[in-house]
Amino acid sequence: MAKITIDNKEVECRDGITVLQAALEAGWDIPHYCYHPGLSIVASCRLCLMEMQMPHPKTGEMDWAPKLLPSCQTPVKDGMVVRFNSETVKKNQRDCMEFFLLNHPLDCPVCDQAGECYLQDYSYRFGRAESRMVDQKTVNPKKDIGPRPLLYSDRCVICSRCVRFTREISGTFELHVTQRGSRSEIDVFPGRPLDNPVQGNVVDICPVGALLDKDFLFKKRAWEFRPANSICPGCARGCSIRIDQDEDVVYRLKPRYNPKVNDWWICDEGRFGYKYIHDESRVKGPILRRGQSVTRLLWEEIPDILRFRFQEHVEKHGGDKVAAVLSPFMACEEAWLLGRFIREMAPQAALAMGPVPLEDEDQRFPVGAKGEAVKFEISKEKCPNRRGVEAILEQAGGTVLAFEDFIEKAGADAFSAAWIVGGYPKPWLEKAVAKKLSGKSELLVVQDIFPNDLMAEATFVLPACSWAEREGCFMNIDGLIQPFDWAIHPPDGVKRDGQYLFEIAGYTGLYSGKRVRELMAATMPAFAEVLAAPQLAAHAH
């Protein structure tokens, strides 16, 4: 632990970090553009300059150095004395801001970054009120640099964060700075557009409105969102994300800093993979089918009807004829509640987990990196909670089948009552499998987000919710349990999976992930305390 003095206050900080990082962590709000904790340090924006005490070359006494030093590039050393509150430092910040705004078009009203723009914030806090620029502004054209981001080079401050991102994190080297001095511009090489699986991050790290998301362009203003913290369900990594929603419409996903999983990044597949939650073809409302007649059920009557039907079935055919297929898209709490209900109805019932969507191999970034050098990873498992559901099945004990065995057994008439959970964003039940399962069950409950082939003969159809509407926790591929909040309300007529499973399992009141985790903790102590990744202060990025 090094002890340094910032603005006459003593601060203890970790060894090996820079003064800027120490100051940001201790709560100072130091303006900076080019510094990003996840990227290398270039000290090019000159906004974070500080004054530092050095021994005077003649007298040897400690005195303030005549020149300002970049705090982002100066490592901390025990006994160091620096200051940010002097007039020289403030003048530098003011002058730097004036330079940044020389060619800026000041088109905040039509810029998507407005509201979360560091150029706005810093010019308000550290800049000057009026521009003294008299000459014509340089106008750089709007550039289409790739399929996802759009570059407005007239808003750019040449912090080179995006360039360093493509060199250090994605390892694809698409972006570079062309020209010099006031003519500098970000650009791509001819014929090589910015096109890699993590390119969306350049929009996030851009401190100004130079790089904008084409998908989100002009859709919404940044201050209108009521965000919720969530976990990306796209793959088994479980990156921390923030869901930006307004009036129950999700407009974009943004990464949340989580040093244990994703640092500052998320992949494009996760970032843009949420569109299915607003699909019109989703299952709406619970249905009961008796022969040919189809009745819409009320949510209030479902727990009693289901309990009655399962009890009746077990009495008639025996408990070993009951099976349930849990989905790797379920939250741990939901899987536990359903498992509990099935085992309560029939202790000999078989439990299984649905198919895990797999891709060929994990993707690692920078491209081609191995071992320690890997900065970001996308798992080949395209579901968020395989490990969580497996852990719950393991704890449940009794007959636990693999999905293939379940199909085999079901095909051989081993089960006459089944509860099958889907919730996959893409069609998951293959035709052949559905054919094998069809006509085997007298009592079939299908819980899915989109219509599947089994629904036509299901006794009960229960609508499932997308992860953005649910609450609970996912266990990622490394066994880390992470909670997520609901961001939007389910569509009309749909209830949250957790809530109705909570009622079906015999509990009353409002479902909450925390409440169920307290119940689970009795047998699975890992769920006793599930904490979200600590949130970084807004200015510390």
Binding site: S131, V134, R221, E224
Partner: protein, 197 residues
């Protein structure tokens, strides 16, 4: 959920015997009416015979029905920045923006609805607008047969501009509060002069 500390219980004030009768208050009120009745018999009346006689419209500061201004080329002047919708205390403005089809403009509204029934005519939208695209007009005789009819869309608001532009022309459009950044004629020269001084 409202916190207990945010709940303030207020006792209703007790009425005195004369207040409970309500008669003194009724006579007091009738007194005012009758006083004005006789005053208008002898002097100039306060009211006019609407619609035959109409008061002069107060163009400067009357806050009536909104209009959406057009720019010099007849296009909608709005840049879909949502400032009016953000400033609106009644949440009566609904905008959808899109990339503009014109090369000199970045963004324009594909939808611009104002619920005239919900609006409280405070004029904050006018104040918030960075391009003076939304303005309140002197129009106060606003009627409709249904609630839906009273939600004015972009075309209707532009039509109000066409109707009122002669009696109340559009204010100077400026892009920001900075002098010299607007597209007013002579704005750049003004700025240069200021510096020479």
């Amino acid at each position: 959920m409202i916190d207990d500390k945010d709940i303030l219980l207020i006792e209703e004030p007790k009425l005195t015997a004369s207040e409970r009768l309500f008669l003194p208050q009724i006579f007091d009120g009738m007194g005012t009416t009758i006083r004005h009745f006789f005053k208008s018999l002898v002097g100039t009346p306060m009211t006019v015979q609407y619609p035959e006689v109409q008061r002069e419209q107060r163009l400067e500061n009357y806050r009536g029905v909104h209009r959406l201004n057009r720019d010099e080329q007849g296009r909608v002047a709005c840049v879909a920045c949502f400032m009016c919708a953000t400033a609106c205390p009644a949440n009566c403005i609904h905008i959808e923006g899109a990339e503009s089809p014109w090369p000199d403009r970045e963004k324009y509204p594909t939808r611009f609805d104002i619920d005239e029934l919900r609006c409280i005519y405070c004029g904050m939208c006018e104040e918030a607008c960075p391009v003076d695209a939304i303005e309140l007009t002197p129009g106060h005789d606003l009627v409709g047969r249904s609630r839906e009819e009273m939600v004015f869309d972009k075309e209707e608001l532009l039509a109000i501009y066409d109707k009122t532009k002669d009696i109340k022309p559009r204010k100077n459009p400026r892009i920001t509060g900075y002098p010299g950044t607007g597209n007013r004629p002579g704005a750049q020269d003004e700025q240069k002069e200021k510096h020479q001084r």
